[in-house]
């Protein structure tokens, strides 16, 4: 059984909450621990409360954690906002200069963070790093690992700042080692600090159930064998690995940093990034680039996807491959840009007038995002149609450790090249059994044609003939069917012979996996199924999974149950809907509770 621990850092934006969390996360990852981070954003430009949560484990960490084992609070507001989310008997580390906690029954570590930073170090902004040092000391993380991270990341442009930060880190470590050399309720002494804080999630939730010593874990693992990436970083890197050479986009939360990373890196790979005047132009430019023979993509969030509707359908009709990442946020309209939701599904599937087939792929984790964006490019290329990759705020911005990808193993699909010597006349939209017609690229002799969004015959000439329209509609859907034959990946987990099934899509898989594991441990015969493609759906895999079930639970972060509706429309599957629509990601506990309820009522 896996062991893990959730550390939450809370403060005012500007106090360095995020930086502190990132240092902790990266150092832990390098030590070979598995990491999953989660953060919230202040709603206002002028700041507000921020939290950063790091969950560490000896096995892959699949969700952000239901409840904090350790809280690091920088100020009174942070303490009050977050104390309710800390487990009974949890650990509270706090700035004793800033707040005086009531006795909630936590294990208390008060440190004069402000004093240390200001008086001792003369570096008031370093409070967060002092705190990281203290936290690491209490958790038993080796000082050297933290030092390297702080040195590398917190003074890239200014060596003096790097030195100050390292000093702050050491001061934090020192303070703990000097002042907490006692045996407290945790059984921690200066000699055994750390090493015991990974908690056994399954067998018991009290701090008494201690896990694998960290040192063991660190020695066993290959510290450099994993990466710490956000979902958006995985998308950007995966796109590079897939051979993407053109990105056009318009900034929008929470998709923007895909463009930002590619703006720095794509030129080095011989590609181009164009920041366009809006999302319509972004998808237009990507379609143009793809028409001209280059793998192209854009990334946006809901409002941008809405604006792209007409262009998605152009790509579908003119049969131009293009990849569109939708990092969903809480809608509708401008909604809550920094909150998560899975409410764009219907638009991804059906958005835009008329019937324009497109592939929709839903990565379920950071690692999956890296590989699925490659799949997206491959399917786009092979089936010459738009592929939408369904991300959401929670997946885009969480970071997770992933095994380092073996880039040599990544398979890239090349374009089907028309044989232009043979053909007397090149038919760009030739009717074939697969629906796929070989695509000539500008500069190829003999491949002249006009791609068009008007209905057209095999040559691409506009035609309003009833028979032509019928054939071409069917041709375009035939490609979708073929894609469904080729790509039928599902993630199945849990009991081999379940009577309760959990089906969902995208970012909730991690929480669902944890919930299924918990429920199985309680003797419930439950299994989960997450299809990788939402269009075309893998019919056989889904229906055969559902067939044996007594109850099917569909998990999704929206109000109307869009995926549940899809399953019913497609396969007549009735389901119990488990929906969350408050802008926050599902927890394992949410899903576990539902499974238990269904099992109990069974």
């Amino acid at each position: 059984m896996s062991k893990d621990m959730t550390v939450r850092i809370g403060g005012e934006s500007g106090e360095g909450v995020i930086t502190a969390g990132e240092v902790l996360a990266l150092a832990s990852a390098r030590l070979g621990l598995h990491v999953h981070t989660y953060r919230t954003y202040p709603a206002e430009m002028r700041g507000g409360p921020a939290i950063f949560q790091v969950r560490l484990g000896d096995q892959p960490v699949l969700s952000q954690g239901d409840i904090a084992d350790v809280l690091l609070a920088f100020n009174t507001e942070a303490y009050h906002n977050n104390r309710g989310d800390v487990r009974p008997n949890g650990v509270l580390i706090y700035d004793a200069d800033a707040l005086k906690p009531a006795d909630d029954g936590f294990i208390y570590y008060g440190l004069p963070l402000t004093t240390i930073a200001t008086r001792q170090l003369g570096y008031s902004r370093g409070k967060n790093i002092v705190a990281v040092g203290a936290l690491a000391a209490i958790l038993g993380l080796p000082q050297s690992a933290l030092e390297t991270v702080v040195g590398e990341k917190l003074g890239r442009k200014n060596e003096q700042i790097a030195r100050k930060n390292v000093a702050a880190l050491i001061a934090g470590f020192d303070y703990v080692h000097t002042n907490f050399s006692r045996t407290d309720r945790l059984g921690i002494t200066s000699s055994n600090i750390g090493g015991h804080l990974l908690l056994d999630r399954v067998e018991g939730r009290g701090l008494s159930a201690l896990g694998t010593p960290l040192a063991e874990r660190v020695e066993a693992g290959d510290p450099r064998g994993q990466l710490l990436l956000s979902g958006n970083q995985a998308i950007a890197l995966g796109a590079l690995a897939a051979g993407c050479k053109f990105f056009a986009g318009y900034p929008i939360t929470p998709a923007t940093d895909i463009m930002e990373l590619l703006a720095a890196e794509l030129p080095r790979f011989g590609g181009n990034v164009v920041q366009t005047e809006d999302e319509i132009a972004a998808l237009s430019a990507a379609i143009g680039a793809s028409y001209a023979g280059v793998k192209a993509m854009t990334a946006t969030s809901g409002p941008g996807l809405s604006l792209m509707s007409e262009l998605i359908n152009l790509a579908s009709t003119a049969e131009i491959p293009v990849v569109i990442v939708d990092s969903q946020r809480a809608g509708p309209s401008t909604g809550m840009p920094t909150k998560t939701e899975q409410s764009d599904l219907n638009h991804m599937l059906y958005g835009g007038h008329g019937e324009a087939p497109r592939i929709v792929i839903a990565p379920t984790s950071v690692e999956d995002a890296f590989y699925k964006i490659v799949t997206a490019f491959n399917l786009a290329e092979r089936y010459q149609m738009p592929v939408i990759v369904a991300m959401d705020q929670s997946l885009s911005l969480r970071t997770q450790t992933i095994p380092r990808p073996q880039t040599d193993d990544i398979r890239i699909v090349a374009r089907e090249v028309p044989d232009l010597r043979q053909a007397v006349e090149y038919k760009r939209y030739a009717l074939t059994t697969s629906g796929v017609s070989a695509r000539a690229i500008p500069s190829e002799v003999g491949g002249l044609h006009v791609a068009t969004g008007l209905e057209h015959d095999e040559y691409g000439h506009p035609s309003y003939d009833p028979y032509v329209h019928r054939s071409m509609v069917a041709k375009r859907y035939q490609k979708l069917a073929e894609a469904g034959e080729e790509f039928r990946e599902v993630h199945r987990f849990g009991a081999a012979a379940p009577n309760i099934g959990v089906v969902g899509w995208g970012s909730t898989e991690g929480a669902a996996r944890e919930a299924v594991t918990l429920a199985q441990a309680k003797g419930i015969a439950v299994a989960g199924l997450y299809p990788s493609a939402l269009s075309p759906l893998p019919e056989e895999e889904i229906t055969s999974f559902a067939r044996s079930l007594r109850a099917l639970i569909v998990v999704e972060a929206n109000y109307t149950g869009q995926f549940a509706g899809l399953l019913r429309a497609k396969y007549g599957l009735d389901s119990i809907h488990l929906n969350r629509f408050d802008g926050l990601p599902f927890t394992a506990e949410d899903i576990f509770r539902k499974i238990k309820e269904v099992a109990d009522n069974g």
Partner: protein
């Protein structure tokens, strides 16, 4: 020598596709197409290296009638799509064509940005001051008081001034032609295509069916005086503000790096920070 240079080695007929134009007899678009064939022949572009991108409208049907690669897209999006084409493969010769509604109404938001990027494409706008395809509604260049199907009591908006707009957008080559002056229009299109950077050709083109402006235009066009300094933006703006008559010829030329050149420079800068490989990039996240 001069003579020899004028010999057309490719024939305009080489650019004629098998598709018969769908336009009404007498439509200005025929004239524009003829001038385009000649210009293409003169600059001797190979059909397979030419891409013509259009939006939607009568005039946007043009790519179908040219033997070249074409992309007949959706209403108003020819410029961003053409931008993608050109950036993806700078070796291609890229033309964007379309109507006044396509380019100044629904697509009007893209024009300034194509200009400020100075992407090396030529944009030929066939302006008939009406929506021909949808059968006669007012367009952004319809004159005030124009009676159209949507302005039965006369249009009340003032007409947009595409030449002034192009100047304000800092388009790097700006010219106005008239389909009735075939030779000059050919020449202008040629110059525009030879220009490095974003070039705009405003081609006055009557819609015989819904806005038969041949007489109106014929009586107002005049050639820009020989001594006009094409690098003087203020002078060009003065020309653009003439409203009772219609100056034909090149208004303005500016030579500055193209978008593709700038992007190439970015690439060099980026590469100077070290050669790229996915694996070394992944190292940053380890």
């Amino acid at each position: 020598m001069a003579e020899a240079e004028m010999v057309t080695r490719r024939s305009p007929l080489e650019y004629k596709s098998d598709l018969k134009p769908v336009w009404c007899a007498g439509c200005g678009a025929y004239g524009a197409l003829a001038s385009l064939y000649r210009a293409l022949a003169n600059i001797e572009v190979r059909p397979e290296n030419l891409v013509i991108v259009s939006g939607i409208g009568c005039t946007s049907r043009l790519p179908g009638f040219v033997k070249a690669y074409g992309f007949h897209t959706v209403h108003g999006r020819s410029l961003p799509i053409a931008t993608g084409v050109k950036v993806a493969n700078p070796a291609l010769t890229v033309l964007a064509v379309g109507g006044d509604g396509d380019g100044l109404a629904i697509g009007g938001g893209h024009f300034p940005h194509a200009a400020r990027r100075n992407v090396d494409i030529t944009y030929v706008m066939l302006d008939n001051s009406v929506y021909g395809q949808t059968k006669g509604q007012s367009s952004p260049t319809s004159l005030p008081d124009a009676e159209t199907k949507t302005t039965p009591y006369g249009a009340v908006e003032s007409a947009l001034n595409p030449m002034a707009m192009a100047l304000a957008y800092d388009v790097s080559f700006i010219a106005q032609g008239y389909v009735g002056n075939a030779q000059q229009l050919t020449d202008i299109i040629q110059q525009a295509m030879r220009h490095k950077g974003f070039s705009f050709v405003h081609a006055l083109s009557p819609c015989v069916t819904f806005n038969d402006s041949y007489q109106y235009l014929q009586s107002r066009v005049f050639d820009i005086p020989q001594d006009h300094d094409v690098h003087d933006k203020i002078k060009a703006f003065q020309l653009a503000l003439i409203t009772d008559r219609l100056p034909l010829g090149v208004f303005y030329v500016d030579n500055r790096p193209t978008f593709e050149e700038e992007l190439e420079a970015v690439r060099q800068k980026a590469l100077s920070r070290g050669k790229a490989s996915i694996d070394s990039l992944l190292d940053h996240f380890a």
